[in-house]
């Protein structure tokens, strides 16, 4: 076995170590800033890595990615603004727990779950890259469409508060996802003749407008002098083993789901964190407290988005295609060094590939260590009054949007979305559902139409493929389950209302 012949000690060169530590630090820091995510950090640093050795440069970029996924949860927990798109779900329970004066605990759960998720993703990468790559090939348009539908159902099952309003959010998100060139006809939709909109609304712009700006507006509307925390005891980033044992199940669910979804190109960490949150809620003993600061609601999405990092490398190395937009940027690091990622690299660049595999595990451990050291500093953000937080977040958000696109119009779009979403938020519409619908919209639409193009318009393509049928059965099971529990809830309600005596 090649895997075990690799000399792990050869990884510990000074450049590699510096690359990993620098990457983890940058990733944590930039991920934690609202508005700036791992993909911006990687895109900005990629040209710098061109002069490094291939292994060191790729390890550094992966370290940024991995630590950025954890870092994204820091601002999600502390100020309720997700640092990365995949940390959106973490805001629900993370911020709720932090507001109960336990930001340190919330971050501790996030760090531990992220580390375990990262390690599971790394092990998947190490042992299963080749077989999983072959499996990913078996899934095609009909399955991707159905997985997208599954994701929408997961949203619906989460927002039980006001079904009509969350449906409206979902539809808004789906509509936002149709902006840009229609892949299957080449026609521009809702671009108003602006080339900047041809590639669709940017996810970075949407996340910042949706969460950062709407949050800034509501902070301003409430008392600007509020401090969430007055007691610094809650800042300790410590989770005892006993506490962690309670979230072992959701962490396990998140790690597995994150790894599986990561190998499917295009679905990404956003979808994986949502699906695992929904699944963890379903299997939880205490689903009622989800959204109100349940640590399980932190562990599931955070382990999932870090597991996705490792497994998103699987299709890159086994098939030559990137599993996520961020990995697509990292692919550039391979190419600029003259290496075309794909199944051939196992033969031609075995040392590099196994170096990445083992290096990835080291990155995850380093992330845990640096995370333990640095996180308490970030948790202090909550000890600041809002009058200090709002301007900082505002400036960072604008800088982040501009740094990503170098286009002024994107700042305008973000501000427009921010104003609109402030009102949506005030009227209790679900912004996270809107974002997930936006992410899923192109996956659902493109793959439905592509599947029908391949089947010459026959819907039988969804029923004649084994994997499709499995997913359809899964969808049916979830829907039936949902309907039953709705009926049950209604019945309980009805019986609990005392009947008037006639």
């Amino acid at each position: 076995m090649e895997i075990f012949n690799f000399d792990i000690l050869s990884l510990f060169t000074l450049t590699n170590i510096i690359a990993i530590f620098a990457g983890v630090f940058i990733g944590l820091f930039i991920g934690a800033l609202p508005g700036l995510g791992a993909s911006i950090a990687i895109a900005l640093l990629l040209p710098i890595t061109y002069s490094m050795t291939p292994l060191a440069s790729i390890l550094m970029l992966l370290a940024i990615y991995q630590a950025g996924e954890y870092g994204g949860s820091i601002s999600a927990v502390t100020i309720g603004i997700p640092g990365t798109p995949s940390a959106v779900v973490t805001t629900l329970d993370g911020n709720a727990l932090a507001k109960k004066s336990y930001p340190g605990k919330a971050l501790g759960y996030s760090l531990a779950a992220s580390t375990i998720g990262g390690l599971v993703g790394g092990l998947v990468l190490l042992f299963l890259t080749v077989p999983l790559g072959k499996f990913a090939l078996k899934l095609s348009a009909p399955e991707y469409f159905l997985i997208g539908i599954l994701g929408l159902i997961a949203v619906a099952s989460l927002s039980s508060k006001d079904i009509t309003k969350s449906m409206i959010s979902v539809v808004l998100g789906l509509m936002a996802g149709t902006i840009g060139i229609d892949l299957l006809s080449g026609v521009s939709r809702f671009t108003f003749g602006r080339p900047e909109l041809m590639e669709g609304l940017s996810i970075v712009v949407l996340v910042i407008g949706l969460f950062a700006f709407s949050e800034i507006f509501s902070m301003v509307n409430k008392n600007l002098n509020t401090k969430y925390i007055t007691d610094t005891k809650g800042l300790k980033t410590k989770v005892t083993l006993q506490e962690f044992r309670k979230v072992l199940k959701p962490t396990f669910i998140g790690s597995i789901m994150g790894s599986i979804i990561g190998i499917m190109p295009g679905l990404g960490a956003g979808a994986s964190s949502w699906l695992s949150y929904a699944t963890a809620k379903r299997f939880s003993k205490d689903p009622q407290s989800f959204g109100k600061g349940n640590p399980e609601g932190i562990a599931a999405p955070e382990s999932a988005n870090n597991a996705t990092v490792g497994s998103a490398l699987v299709p890159l190395l086994s098939l030559g295609i990137p599993g996520s937009p961020t990995i697509a940027i990292i692919m550039g690091a391979f190419i600029i060094h003259g290496i075309q990622p794909g199944p051939k690299v196992f033969a031609t660049e075995a040392n590099l590939v196994y170096g990445i595999f083992y290096g990835f595990l080291i990155i995850t451990v380093v992330m845990y260590l640096i995370g333990r050291l640095v996180t308490p500093l970030f948790a202090r953000a909550l000890a600041f009054p809002n009058s200090k937080i709002t301007p900082i977040v505002m400036v960072l958000s604008i800088v982040g949007v501009f740094a990503t696109h170098l286009q002024y119009i994107q700042i305008w779009i973000m501000l427009g979305i921010g104003v609109m979403c402030y009102f949506l938020k005030e009227f209790d519409f679900s912004l996270p559902s809107m974002l997930l619908a936006f992410v899923l919209s192109p996956i659902i639409e493109e793959n439905l139409r592509r599947a029908l193009l391949l089947s010459e318009g026959s819907y039988s393509i969804f029923f004649t493929r084994a994997y499709s049928v499995v997913i359809i059965l899964l969808i049916l099971a979830i829907v039936v389950n949902m309907v039953f529990s709705l009926i049950k809830a209604k019945r309980v309600q009805r019986t609990s209302i005392p009947r008037p005596i006639s």
Binding site: L46, S140, I216, V220, G266, G320, H405
Partner: protein, 326 residues
Amino acid sequence: MKKLLLIFLLVVALVGCTPANGSSSNKSKDGSDDNFPSKSIEVVVGYGPGGASDTIARTVATAASKYLPNDQSFVIKNIPGGAGIIGTSEVHNADPNGYKIGFSPSGPLTILPHMGEASYSLDSLGAVIKLASIPQMLHVKKESPWDNFEEWVEYVQNNPGDFTYSTPGVGGEQHLAMEALNEVLGITTVNVPYNSGGESSVALIGGEVDGSVVFPGTVASDDAKILFSFSGSKEGYDDVPTLKDLGIDVASNVYGGIIAPKEVPQDRIAIIHDAFQKALEDPEVIEKLEGLGYPITYGDSESFQSELESDYKQAGDLLRKLGLVQ
């Protein structure tokens, strides 16, 4: 008070910084110095770092810096968006002093101006030097029944509309190349578009489609074989027949090169051209580009310009026939 502040912020957010993207033209005084270049030259790439355009531009520009007078250098600036239109517009709108030029593949110059979103036209840009080709080839799966062009043609002629092939998009170079062939042979094939060359090649390997028109470098797998190339010449792929070799008078070339605003003085264009031309002879550049599968195809300013113009016409005719533009 806080309500006022909120309203103030909302208003500022909507109307506050209007002139931000207005006329911030920083006309420098470079127009008058004859010691060109006296500072570094920006090379705009309309795509993100790491893609085909970025790789070619970066590789050649790094080497070309060595041959630039006055110890100056080329600096790559990635301005992605709008399928390459935004970067090309940036070059189009730049001061014509030679300090901001661009690298562009042929698509944003020959195809996209037909589509309506571009603010520039091919006439308003000047070609400087053609650098490399990105040849597009028809790939099929290794175990597919077709071993060469003739067997494939026989199949598609007998089964019109059955052969599906993946491309990175409708109206892209790959789609148009196949449509041009369909037209000449009187055959019907079905384009199934994907988001990228990588996704297209996976669709082929996974068996979702029968074939794929992509750049061979994106098919990082031994499970595919190449039937023919759509290029007009061999370009280093000696084993792959071109359509011309097969006696069919169709060619669709995809290539990239350096462009500049139209009014840049000729002597400056010449300095930039010469630096890049020398870079193309640099052994390091040759080794790297050919290793990645991009054949070096030098063309001077005039031949590059006239090639772009004739491809612009060909693309326009095809797009109109396909009903993609009026």
